[in-house]
Point group: C2
Chain length 217, copies 2
């Protein structure tokens, strides 16, 4: 059975084609994400004195954290997802996404390393951010900053390695734009905004501004 | 001309062997580093009310910043360093280091991506840290935290991709331990310590501790 991926000479023994349609796969992710965001919107409304921005940030961290843990976590530890014949949703997701970037099916080391770090470290840390914002923890900004920077670093490595290897991993311009560019754009724009916001909040803290005065060690 | 690198089937057309000896290459880097550290030790002594830790941190950021910009910057933009016949020091460094990790000579995309980010972003940011510490800027901790996290992420990708690809890039256990492990160990231990210190300092800032009380947006 031949596969739909590019480069065409990619060798994927026992590849099994998608059983779910593209619209089913995307709709399931969209609806599940909408459910998570709506749920956190409602729950965050019960947090006393919480700002609008922080309520949206709680939604983002829940959404991105679950995406990292469930979707990317499955990929990181499932080298043979492309052989799945059962129609298992997470395998279907990555078979479909590989049309935009075949390095996923090909198990490219750079992609696996970045996804592994994202799933194992940034995923749980994102969920911790939901809790940290809700409870006003002092580490809330630095935690959000750290995860956002990790997401940006990962995305940078992801795009740069593809570019350096010839940027020829998409089955068509359609999949290139929708999956490779489109699906990753949020993880460039939103972490950048959050990192800038956290940087400003942290720099505005009075003790850090006056740090020269109370240095002891 | 055959090359000294592993895997042995790595194809390096026009490879030119090292002209400088290992001890010359290492001594030059060691002495240059010692000069930079000594210089910053002396200069930092003139900064009023500076702590011992901050003086050492200024030395570290100057050392690591110049390493990123000069050594790693040269590598990132010199795909054909292994062909150099002139004995140019920076080409000699990477020909020698490639004995510990041939992915440098082979122009592995993951290595080039990480080194590019390190040289272009983390290098100048490290030198900015020297200035930020000396002048007690409010962004000093968050800047040091950001760079340290970047160094740790880069080192994680560096080691993980090698592991995933079979960890067979060193010419011998001697080069593996000295270059691949030894030369990178500082960039695991020191950024970890700095990141933890900055995290604690930032969390200890009173405005961030009481952030729940003054949220507006």
């Amino acid at each position: 059975m031949s596969h739909p991926y590019v480069p065409r000479d990619l060798n994927l023994v026992d590849y099994a084609p998608n059983l779910l349609s593209q619209s089913t796969i995307l709709a399931a992710y969209g609806l599940a994400s909408l459910f998570v965001v709506s749920l956190i919107r409602v729950i965050s409304g019960k947090v006393p004195k919480i700002s609008k921005t922080d309520r949206w940030l709680m939604c983002w961290w829940a959404f991105t954290g679950l995406t990292h843990i469930i979707l990317e976590g499955y990929f990181a530890f499932s080298p043979e997802f492309y052989k799945d014949k059962s129609g298992f949703y997470l395998a279907e997701v990555w078979k479909e996404y590989s049309k935009g970037d075949s390095r996923y099916a090909a198990r490219d080391a750079g992609v696996v390393a970045v996804e592994g770090i994202t799933a194992v470290l940034e995923g749980p840390a994102s969920l911790l951010s939901v809790y940290a914002i809700a409870t006003g923890k002092s580490y809330s900004y630095i935690l959000q900053f750290a995860i956002s920077l990790g997401q940006l670093y990962g995305t940078a490595v992801y795009f740069m390695t593809s570019y350096l290897e010839g940027d020829n991993f998409a089955a068509s311009p359609y999949y290139y734009n929708l999956y490779y560019i489109g699906a990753n754009a949020s993880w460039v724009v939103i972490p950048s905004l959050i990192a800038i916001r956290c940087w400003k909040k942290i720099c505005a803290a009075p003790q850090l501004q006056g740090q020269k005065k109370n240095k002891v060690r």
